[in-house]
């Protein structure tokens, strides 16, 4: 038996079942909370910090994707303060590496770009870090441009949780953090990669892309495997 909780998000009364996250219930109720590491169908990790919400009675902000709902909780998902914080965090993502929309394969198909647009990021004020980073184009079909990676790790999770290959993982720390294939060997030499392309499809930016696509041609809409996995998970009670 599942317990159902009623609570409020931005003053709206909503209901959800025990174990659901604030993010899930908000999505079901048409309340849009931004988030770039969150993706329905794979596990959340609460790392991009865009979905931070206020919960009445708690001095700290909480990540909506990782916060389980409870009876009577009062969530503020949109406020002036949160908007400013989210804009700044989005700006950090742009300033971290080398995002140049005009020459990006994902231009107009980019969730980072969409997020900046939705949040009304109009200009960049913070120091630009802009390190020299590599591109790995050794794979037959796909390539990764680390200049555009925001380390959401959707690729790592989808490869591990859905494809089951665990080709992708993470190396180094801090600003040096990179996603990597098979302990750091070139992607094209990876013995575990099945070339399924799921990582490319879930990547929110132009970091992972299909070779041969020109600027602004890298649409990423083929994600049928994600909702399907969710249905399976629900049916099996996972």
């Amino acid at each position: 038996m599942t317990t159902v909780f009623t609570f409020r998000i931005d003053g709206k009364d909503v209901a959800g079942s025990e174990g659901q996250s604030v993010m899930e219930v908000a999505e079901e109720n048409g309340i849009d909370i931004p988030g770039l590491c969150h993706l329905e169908g794979i596990h959340d990790r609460g790392a991009c910090r865009l979905c931070m919400v206020e919960i009445a009675g708690s001095p700290k902000l909480a990540a909506a994707c990782m916060t389980k709902i409870s009876e009577g909780m009062d969530v503020t998902a949109h406020s002036e303060r949160l908007l400013e914080y989210r804009r700044t965090v989005t700006e950090m993502m742009f300033m971290e590496r080398n995002h140049v929309c005009a020459v990006c394969v994902a231009n107009n198909h980019c969730e980072l770009q969409d997020t900046a647009d939705e949040l009304g990021v109009t200009h960049f004020d913070l120091p630009r870090i802009s390190p020299k980073v590599d591109i790995d184009a050794s794979h037959r079909l796909f390539a990764i441009d680390h200049n555009r990676c925001i380390l959401c790790l959707r690729c790592v999770r989808v490869c591990d949780e859905i494809e089951g290959a665990h080709t992708w993982d993470v190396m180094h720390r801090g600003l040096e953090t990179r996603v990597q294939t098979d302990m750091g060997i070139p992607w094209g030499e990876s013995p575990t990669c099945t070339s399924c392309g799921k990582c490319v499809q879930v990547c929110p930016t132009g970091a992972l892309f299909e070779k041969g696509r020109a600027v602004a041609r890298g649409s990423k809409t083929r994600r049928p495997f994600l909702p399907w996995m969710k249905v399976v998970a629900e049916e099996r009670g996972l």
């Binding site: 991009c48 902000l61 990782m66 965090v89 950090m92 120091p127 380390l151 720390r173 801090g174 600003l175």
Partner: protein, 548 residues
């Protein structure tokens, strides 16, 4: 109970040279600091010289940290309290003479304020026992508390005593230890774990290292008591690999305790089982954060995860897990031996008992001190610490490591407690205390800590990974005299957002050194920005180009 086994690596130095109690004994500090100054050579030399002098009724004993690290290598004549500092091999004959002159009438002489003003609880055996000798530990009341707990108390009584003592987590945040133990004890789960967090990483902090190097059995006893109190059967000590001596002594201690029946199955002839394993950290500061520590013990990448669920409910391998700091476990045996009310009688307000501090920086007596909560900073820095080197003016004391803050001279008379330090914009932290004089530039200090945080950021969440570097860039701009007042405003705004939005304590605490230096030393920031001058003369600022 099986008899205590002889230490495997028992060395010449610990062997008594005669039967019966020694007339005189020289304690040689063999903790990391003195060891690095060749203390072990002194021990060997003392052994040779006493043999040459045909002194058969003296003992040369290796002990843990004697506290006054600045004056190492240290040798103490235990009977008289006479302390030999900066000992070189040439000084050994003087020590032998002193040993010869010890007579039964000698009583321990006062040793000056550095020692007199301290109150030793967690460090009571430090510099008294041989860290690799279980008998020595037993002789000083070791394992009495565990035996009493196992034979006379229920687990809830143990938790009740710890709660009543008012002990709070000594790793930094000060969460009430009794409450944490109760949470773990009541959490659902057949398997529970106890973890000792020995991943001490704050710059200038060496409390945990000294405790582990000087009195490792105490940690094992504290952990065993905790395990009994929360119904755990397995424990881990997560120690950083940068502490090889601490790890070696801990390994020895675990082996000796296992052989003597103080670890393993049926501890002290009861039905209680508990065993401890060591896990080494690979040098990441963030692994001191409990969820990252758990991930690391599990063999995964050491990155934190959002809490709740707290480790007390869902920790190691999703089982309820108790995580306490080295010093917290070290305090437990003494609290249970001397009684919770005795412990609660020490301290001030909600901060009970004593706290170990690693006194470092521009202070005469750098070393390890343990003082009652509520002692003022002035007493710690000037009485115990002996004041500033070369009599220079005191500027600030930094507590709490990279999440802490700098406290200026006007607050020197504030009693030290968890609450007062937070009120002053700093943080108790694990106990690092770095004293600064007028040769330190506070903007440069803030920059140093920011550099530390950006280097140690695990890279998981955006505000910490990117933001700490951006804070560092802004501070760097200020120290080069290239910043404007807009940059200062940006620095403050950004620091506030990183504090609120970061995932774990590393990012949330990273802006603290900036906030506290801005609070007390804003004029120094302004001097760099407006006058393009570093008042302390630390930062190199190129002269402004003269406008044609």
């Amino acid at each position: 109970m099986p008899a205590a086994a002889r230490p495997i690596r028992r060395r010449v130095i610990t062997e008594e040279l005669h039967e019966g109690p020694a007339r005189a004994s020289a304690y040689v500090c063999e903790a990391a600091s003195c060891m690095s100054a060749q203390a072990h050579d002194i021990t060997l030399r003392l052994g040779e010289k006493t043999a040459e002098a045909d002194l058969t009724d003296v003992t040369i004993k290796r002990v843990g940290c004697l506290g006054l690290c600045a004056a190492g290598p240290l040798v103490e004549i235990a009977e008289t309290g006479q302390l030999f500092s900066h000992v070189t091999p040439d000084d050994v004959s003087g020590i032998v003479t002193a040993l010869q002159n010890v007579s039964p009438e000698n009583t321990r002489a006062p040793q000056g304020p550095f020692f007199e003003k301290q109150l030793r609880v967690a460090t009571e055996n430090m510099g008294r026992v041989d860290p690799e000798n279980l008998d020595d530990y037993l002789e000083r009341g070791g394992y009495e508390a565990l035996k009493r707990v196992l034979s006379e108390m229920t687990s809830s009584e143990v938790r009740e005593e710890i709660t009543r003592s008012g002990l709070r987590g000594r790793g930094g945040a000060g969460f009430p230890t009794g409450l944490k133990w109760t949470t773990v004890a009541k959490a659902q789960g057949a398997q529970k774990y106890v973890i000792c967090n020995a991943d001490e990483g704050d710059p200038g902090a060496f409390m945990d290292r000294s405790v582990l190097e000087s009195d490792p059995f105490r940690i094992l006893e504290g952990m065993a008591i905790a395990a009994f109190a929360v119904h755990a059967t397995e424990g881990y000590v997560y120690c950083r690999a940068e502490y090889p001596l601490a790890v070696a002594r801990l390994r020895t201690a675990i082996r000796l305790a296992q052989r003597a029946g103080y670890l393993g199955a049926g501890i002290a002839d009861t039905s209680f089982n508990f065993d401890v394993q060591i896990r080494l950290g690979a040098g990441a500061f963030v692994c001191g954060e409990e969820t990252a520590l758990i991930a690391s013990v599990e063999g995964r990448r050491g990155t934190p995860r959002p809490r709740p669920p707290y480790p007390a409910v869902q920790g190691l391998w999703d089982c309820p897990t108790l995580i306490n700091n080295v010093e917290t476990f070290a305090s437990v045996p003494t609290i249970l031996r001397k009684g919770p009310d005795w412990y609660a009688g020490i301290g001030v307000g909600k901060s009970k008992g004593t706290k170990v501090f690693a006194l470092a920086g521009r202070v005469v007596n750098t070393g390890l001190v343990e003082v009652p909560m509520g002692m003022t900073l002035r007493e710690i820095v000037f009485d115990i610490g002996g004041g500033i080197i070369d009599g220079r003016p005191f500027k600030a004391v930094q507590t709490g490591g990279p999440s802490g803050g700098c406290i200026p001279a006007e607050h020197l008379d504030m009693p030290v407690s968890y609450e007062s330090l937070i009120e002053l914009g700093s943080f108790m932290g694990s106990g690092g205390m770095i004293v600064m004089d007028d040769t330190s530039c506070m903007v440069d200090v803030a920059k140093y800590f920011q550099d530390f945080c950006r280097d140690e950021s695990c890279g998981k969440c955006v505000p910490c990974r990117v933001g700490t570097t951006q804070l560092w860039m802004l501070l760097d701009q200020i120290t080069r005299g290239e910043a404007t007042m807009d940059d200062l405003a940006q620095l403050e705004r950004l620091a506030g957002i990183i504090q609120k939005m970061s995932l774990c304590g590393l990012g949330q605490g990273a802006p603290n050194p900036i906030f506290s230096t801005l609070r007390y030393f804003r004029d120094e920031y302004l001097a760099h920005i407006v006058d393009r001058v570093c008042p302390a003369g630390v930062c190199t600022i190129e002269p402004a180009e003269v406008m044609a």
